[in-house]
Every structure is written in C-alpha cells, then in structure tokens.
C-alpha cells in the first residue's frame, strides 16, 4: 500500500491533520495502534478549550492555542460536534494570588487572547454564584469553551475518511525504513509506504521518532486523575473554574462538560510506564480534597466514574510543542509533546502541519472536499415531534437500549455501520454515550454486546471492551 502521507497516531492532532490534508489531492493514511481513534491522551483530559493565557509569550503553544481556540467554533460547527463557549475563570483566594491573576492577564493580552478582564469578588459571584466565599477575584476569559475531545476526534476522523483518507486501526508501527523517496512502515498489518510521515504518536512519539534516528526529545508521561460527576451536580458549576497556577501545575479544576456532567481534576504526576492509566487512591483523594475549595457545595459522592489521562510531556527545556521537520529527515514531521493546551490548539495544529506538508509537496485542492460531517442522530436531544418522525422512518430508533442516557438501537447501529465505525464496547460508548450514564452500562452492556456481535457478524464472546484481551464474556454456560 502506497501513500503520499502517512500519519502515525489517530488522536486529536492526527485526526485533525488528516482532515486538513484531505482537502488536497493527495493520498493520506491514518495509522493507529489502538482499536479505535482517540484512545490515547486524547481520550482523557479536561475537555477544555483554553483561552490561551497559560503559555509563555512567543511559544508555539501560545500561538497555536489562541489560533486553535478561535478556529474551534467553526470546526465544531462543520463537524457537528457540541461546543460550548462558556468562558473560564482563574479564581484568586488572596491578594498574592490576585497578582498571579494580573500576570496571567498580561500574558494573555500579549498572546492575543480576546476580551479578558480581571474581575472583583462581586462580579465573580454573579458569574459563578456557588463560588467559595473565600474567593477575592478572578481572571475572566470569555473566549474559553468546552468540547468533548473524543467526539471531536471521531468526527474529524469520519470526515477525513469521507474525504478519502485511508484508516488503519489495530495497526502498530514497529519500524520505519527510508529509501530517500519512500518510507516503508513495518506495521501490524504489513508494509505501508509513504513519501512523508507525520509522527503524531502521542506518548509514543519519541519511540516513533527514534525509528528514523531522531532522539531530539523524550516523552515523560504525566498522569492526571479525574472524577466525573453525575448530571445532578451540573447546576453548581457554570464556567471552567481554575485555581491559580503554581510551580506544581494548573491545580484542580472544576468544569461542566458538553454532556452536562462535571469534571473534577486533574492531578499531575510523572510516571514510568506510558500505558499506566490506573487511578490511585492518593490521586483520587487529592482531587476530592481539593475540588470543593472552589465550589464548596460540590458533592464528590455523586461521582459516576473516575479515570486517568496521560499527558505527552517532553523533556525539552523550552517546554513547547515539538512540531516541525525532524533534523534527521526532512520528510519526517514531528507533532510531539502535545500536552495542554493540545486539544484547544488541535485545529491550528492541523493547519500548521498541513502547511509544512504542502511546502514540501505542493498539491491542488480537491474540488469535491466536503467539510461537513453529518450530525449523528441524538435521540435524547430531540423534541417529541422530531422523535415521532424519526421512529416513523426507522422503528429501531424507537427501542431504547441505554436507559440512563436515552440511546436507541438505531443510534448504536449507526455508530457501528458508519465510516470509522465502532468495533468494541468503548467505541460504541464514545460514539453514542451508551453506557456512559449513571449505571455505567450495568443494564445496557449485554444488549450492546449483542448488537455489536450481530452487526459485525461476530460471536458475542469475541466482543471486547477496547480490543486485545479485554473480553466481556467467556464461553457459553453448560
């Protein structure tokens, strides 16, 4: 199989880069080690579109964050992904912290963040009524927002696929050879050749870079643990609420999600293993001890799940994204060290990387590029009339499978049968929210297993949670 460009890693950067390149007359492959797109760092983070005041002025992080955040509403509109421009607050609890707020404000202005203001306690209370009485003021950044990172990535992947990008999942890249014109990628699915390689392999981007002899950076995986709270908590948090950053990081934040839950976290701990997504008692305690400092009424007992995300932090001194042609090979482009604000920057990263590719490999735009991903059916958001019409068209939309999130059989079938469709339980969950609610798939799990098996023509005991040996059930009972 021969391509012009092979992108390694189907996280948010890889998927949005693939989508950008699919605008042009070139053959693009997106190669992913995992069983689905968006299963690495992309899957688990704060789901925030940052305003852009965190990164130091003049860095790639600062530039791409502000640009990406500005692009996000349009990208989400085209891809039919829920995006909410709720704004963010950095809350200060002392006069000393107000100085930090002022510093962030000035940095934000220099970075080009629009419409920020330093606000006093009264205005803060008005914006965020449940905020702690100990708060003295805050930085208000109205351009910030929230988006679901895996939903954005899946939508970008689907759109890229519909515009001709080739997809390879369960396809780990084990080695790379270069003959000066073509790279040959030795993968779990055989050889894939490409003139250009984009290394968007997340926490494994250093491993992939070393395959062409580039050892200019190392990834130090950094763990962040979160609680996801029930929708009953969402009335308590209106905006993304940060505490003042310290040398230790941005601290524990509280934020609504686009689906109406509340996220609390993350911790920040450097770890040894790149796939260590275990939560820890100490980490979860740190979150539950600190989350109520901003919103004292927040009830961590209403947690429905907890999870760990891994950030692809590099050992580089400048602490910046590593994006650009490798010093070892000009046809090999690194997109590495994409930690926060990676999600916010992703739309801009896609364009930035596409520009690099086009500078090396000039290409015409496709006449028939379609920027839109059709909106999937979302039964739970429909009016009674819309529901009636939908079920009339196809009765399978009348059968509720996931009762907590009101997901129908029709939606689950769409998620499996569509482009870059779900092949396992977590894939269905991320595409439809089936199993993501209060009961965490207790009731619908076995029904989803059945539907997956039926639609994919597999045995029920071959259905997994997320590929590999993550089987749900074993053999038949006697």
């Amino acid at each position: 199989m021969q391509f012009d460009v092979a992108i390694i890693g189907a996280g948010v950067s890889g998927a949005l880069t693939a989508r950008e390149l699919s605008r042009y007359n070139m053959q693009v492959a997106l190669i992913e080690k995992g069983s689905d797109v968006a299963v690495g760092s992309t899957k688990a983070n704060s789901a925030i579109v940052h305003a852009g005041f965190d990164a130091e002025n003049g860095t790639l992080k600062a530039k791409l964050n502000v640009e990406g955040t500005a692009l996000m509403p349009q990208v989400c509109k085209e891809l039919n992904v829920p995006y909410k421009n709720i704004g963010s607050l950095v809350v200060a609890y002392s006069e000393k912290e107000m100085q930090t707020v002022q510093t962030l404000y000035e940095r934000g202005v220099n970075n080009g963040v629009p419409d920020m203001r330093v606000i006093d306690k009264a205005e803060l209370k008005e914006l965020e009524p449940m905020i702690s009485d100990l708060a003295v003021g805050a930085l208000w950044a109205p351009s910030a927002g929230i988006v679901c990172p895996y939903e954005l990535t899946i939508a970008a992947a689907v759109n890229a696929a519909e515009n001709g990008v080739g997809f390879f999942r369960n396809c780990e890249v084990k080695g790379i050879e270069d003959d000066g014109e073509y790279f040959t990628l030795d993968t779990a699915q055989g050889e894939i050749k490409a003139k250009y390689v984009i290394n968007a392999a997340g926490v494994y981007s250093d491993t992939v870079a070393r395959m062409i002899g580039d050892d200019s950076f190392n990834i130090i995986p950094r763990k962040g643990e979160y609680y996801l709270l029930d929708k009953s908590e969402c009335s308590k948090v209106k905006h993304t609420v940060f505490v003042c950053p310290t040398e230790m990081g941005k601290g524990i934040l509280l934020s609504p999600t686009v689906d109406g839950n509340v996220l609390a976290g993350p911790t920040s701990i450097d770890i040894e293993e790149k796939d260590d997504v275990d939560t820890t008692a100490a980490g979860l305690k740190l979150v539950s001890d600190n989350a109520p400092k901003s919103i004292p009424t927040i009830n961590l007992r209403n947690s429905i799940t907890s999870f760990t995300g891994i950030r692809a932090h590099t050992d580089r001194k400048d602490n910046d994204f590593v994006i650009g042609q490798s010093e070892k090979n000009a046809r090999f482009i690194n997109v590495a060290g994409i930690e926060s604000p990676g999600l916010s920057s992703a739309p801009a990263i896609g364009k930035y990387v596409a520009d690099i590719v086009l500078s090396l490999f000039p290409c015409e735009k496709k006449a028939d590029f379609n920027p839109e991903r059709p909106a999937p059916v979302r039964f739970r958001e429909m009016s009674t009339e819309e529901r009636k019409a939908l079920i009339e068209k196809d009765k399978r939309y009348g059968r509720i499978i996931c009762r907590c999130e009101t997901v129908t059989e029709g939606e689950i079938i769409d998620a499996i049968q569509g482009p870059v469709g779900a092949i396992d339980m977590d894939g269905v969950k991320r595409r439809t929210r089936a199993g993501m609610g209060r009961c965490q798939s207790g009731f619908c799990g076995s029904k989803v297993v059945e539907i997956l098996a039926r639609e994919l023509g597999k045995n029920v005991n071959d259905i997994t949670k997320y590929g590999g040996e993550s089987k749900i059930i074993y053999e038949r009972t006697k």
Binding site: T279, I391, R399, E450, I473
Partner: protein, 417 residues
C-alpha cells in the same frame, strides 16, 4: 393520545401487584409500561429459590413468583406494553413512552403508579483505584449474563459487597464451575440475609472477609487481580494489610439505588435517606394521583414485602381514581436514635386501616427495643432479639391509635438499648 384511568410504570412484581389490586378495586382502564421484553422485572433473572415464603407460604424461584402475577395480569383486561421505555412524565399525568412497534406513545392517565425498581451502584460510586480493564461488573449484570443470556462472564471471581445479589452470585458462579475466591465486605457485618450467608457461602466453602475491601484493580486489558485491604473502624484501609488476589472478574454488590429519574422529572419530593419518594400510607407521593411502590420507593430485602406494599399503592390509586381518598390532616413519622428512615413518611389521620411502619436500623442491635412514641406518650414498645441494617423491620399502628393522635403531632420510632 391514549386515555387510561391508571398507568403503571414498570411491570416487575411491584407494578403487577399494584395494577392487579387496582383492578380488583374497580379501576377499569389500566396499562402497564415495561421497558424489558417481558413482564416480571428483575425476578426473571433470579432463578434461585427463596421467594414467596411470606406471601405465598411456599418457596418459589424468582420466575415462578413472577409467573403467578403474569398469569393473573393476562387473565384481566389490563393492557401491557413491553420493550417500552417511558421518556417523560409531564404536568397533568401525561406520559410519553417509546418502543419499536408503536413508536412514540402519549398517554394521559387519571393516576400513575411509579414502579421502576432500582439499579446497582456501579464502580464509580465507590471509586476503586486501578485500571479500567474489562472483567469488572455489578453482580446483577453477571447474573443476567449467566441466567438469561447463558454466558460465563469470568472464571476466577472476587466479589465485593455481601449484599444478597453478591451472595447469590457467589453460589451461582461456583455452580457454573467458576472459582469464587472470596466475598469482601467493608462493614464488620454482612449486608445480606442470614440464610444467604449460610446457603451461598458457608455451604459452598467460600470465605467471607469482613472489614475488608478492594482497594485496587489490576490488568491492562482483562482483569488480572485485585488488591484487597482490611479497614479500620472508620472503614478506611489499614496501610500494610494490602494483599494481591488473583482473579479475572470482580463482581460488585455494593448497594442499590432506587431509579427515580422520572420521579425527579415529575417534581416529586424525595426522601434523602431512602432515595425514594416521600409517601403516605397508601404510597401516594407529594403529587396528587401519583403513587410509588416497590424498590423505586425503598430497597426491600424480600419481594414478598414489595407485593404487600404495591397492593397498598394499587388500592390507594383506586380510591383516588374513584374520588374516595381520605381528606384528613397528615401526621408525620420520624425515625430517631438508630432508626434511619420510616416508610410511609406521613399518615392520613382519617386513614381507614391499620398502618404498618417499615424501617431500617443503622447498626446491629441485640435484645434492643423498638419504641413508638407520640409526644411523651409511648404507643408501642417491642423487644427484638436481633436487629441489623440488612433486615427491614416493621411495626403496626392501629387505626384507632392513629385517629387519637392530635393534629400537628409526630409519630416517632426509636431503638432503645
């Protein structure tokens, strides 16, 4: 719009008993809306025996117990819609439901009985640290895989929580050839019925580890083991007591939560302890004409009590529909000093029958007394050899006593050691 006298949401033991009782009390047009493919509710997957000892005075399996009611429902003109999910309850008792045969259904009913049952608390509710691999599920989910679908969800099992479902599944998985390593219980006492400890664990040689919990799960893809630890009197894991137990499956039996999403949507007052609606002696909620019964109201230990409670709701709904509800003042009930809650939370002073108060105690008591008072007056005092949180207690308050209670007074139940 379909018009009914009574709409019953949920076709498990609670919903069926309420519908049948309403029918017997003269209600004409009744519909049962059930989200599963059959009537019977969770009883359909409870294939073990032990049901009906109180109500039928004989020992039945879950499906047998359900069958008796299903046959009775079939013999009436009660309409039943299965595979039907209720989406909303709106002002004026308007219900919207959906299924893949009729599509969207809109129903208007004079009265509604809520009988949606309960769900199991998932892993997230107690936040066990570790990996999110496969092989971690609630005991009830495993029960469905084994008993309904016919699949083994695992081979080497650890069960967390000694609630009845956990105990039943310890035996069930063993009988199917799995190795059940142990049942861990956070509390210093079991949360299941004594007969289940004896029959499901002792008889099967499965160890019960009290004051012990699972603190971490391990495994990149499928579960490979768990770390367990002893807990102190504050239920916190004791450092240094951690040990690894190999298993491919962790079953959770860590409590049940009444499924009151629809109740909340309808703006009905909920009790913070039971997580069910606040009701009167006929199980009428804070919304006139809306009743609740069974596990959606309070988690019961025995289906027999669900049936008894649901008949009250069915009778109450019938009285409401026929305009025969009592119009007296409400007397509040209150559990103090070891009594965690009481159902019903209020009693109509002009009730036409004796009233049973159902409640649970907060810890294990031996030889303690249950004392019911009204103001300074002791109404009732009964000695109990043993009381524990896992077994529901009941006392009966006579009709004439209720009538004699002055307006504004509370009925208080307490434990006296």
């Amino acid at each position: 719009m379909l018009n009914y006298d009574l709409a019953v949401i949920g076709g498990g033991p609670a919903g069926m008993a309420a519908a049948l009782e309403a029918k017997e009390n003269g209600v004409e047009k009744i519909i049962i809306l059930e989200r599963a493919a059959t009537l019977g509710g969770i009883l359909e997957q409870c294939i073990h025996a032990g049901f009906g000892l109180h109500y039928f005075k004989e020992e039945l399996s879950g499906p047998e117990y359900a069958y008796r009611f299903i046959e009775k429902v079939k013999a009436t003109d009660i309409d039943v819609k299965v595979d039907t999910m209720v989406l909303t309850i709106e002002e004026g008792n308007k219900i919207t439901a959906t299924n893949n045969v009729d599509g969207l259904i809109e129903i208007s009913a004079k009265a509604i009985v809520l009988a949606m049952g309960c769900r199991e608390r998932p892993r997230g509710a107690i936040n066990i640290a570790g990996s999110r691999c496969s092989g971690i599920m609630t005991a009830g989910t495993a029960q469905k895989y084994v008993n309904i679908d016919g699949y083994m969800p695992g081979h080497k099992i650890v069960i967390l929580g000694s609630g009845d479902i956990g105990l039943i599944m310890a035996r069930r998985m063993s009988l199917e050839g799995a190795k059940v390593q142990m049942v861990c219980e956070l509390q210093p006492y079991s949360n299941g019925l004594t007969r289940n400890i004896v029959q499901c664990l002792d008889d099967m040689g499965i160890p019960l580890k009290l004051s012990c919990t699972v603190v971490a799960t391990h495994g990149k893809e499928r579960l490979e083991g768990v770390t367990i630890a002893d807990v102190d009197e504050k239920l916190c894991p004791i450092p240094g007591t951690e040990r690894f137990v190999e298993c491919d499956t962790l079953l959770l039996s860590i409590g049940l939560i009444p499924e009151n999403e629809l109740t909340r949507m309808a703006g009905i007052d909920l009790d913070r302890v039971t997580n069910g609606a606040v009701v009167d002696e006929y199980r009428q909620t804070s919304k006139e004409g809306v009743f609740a019964c069974g596990n959606v109201l309070q988690v019961h230990d025995l289906v027999d009590y669900v049936t008894i409670e649901s008949k009250l709701a069915g009778k109450g709904a019938a009285k409401y529909i026929k305009g025969e509800s009592e119009k007296g003042e409400y007397i509040e009930t209150q559990g103090i000093n070891g009594v965690r809650y009481i159902v019903p939370q209020k009693i109509n002073s002009k009730t036409d029958d004796d009233v049973n108060l159902y409640f649970r105690v907060g810890s294990v008591y031996k030889g303690a007394k249950i004392v019911v008072t009204c103001g300074d007056k002791v109404i009732l005092s009964k000695k109990r050899p043993r009381m524990c949180p896992s077994e529901m207690e009941t006392v009966t308050i006579k009709k004439d006593v209720i009538e004699s209670i002055p307006a504004g007074e509370k009925l208080t139940v307490r434990v006296e050691e």
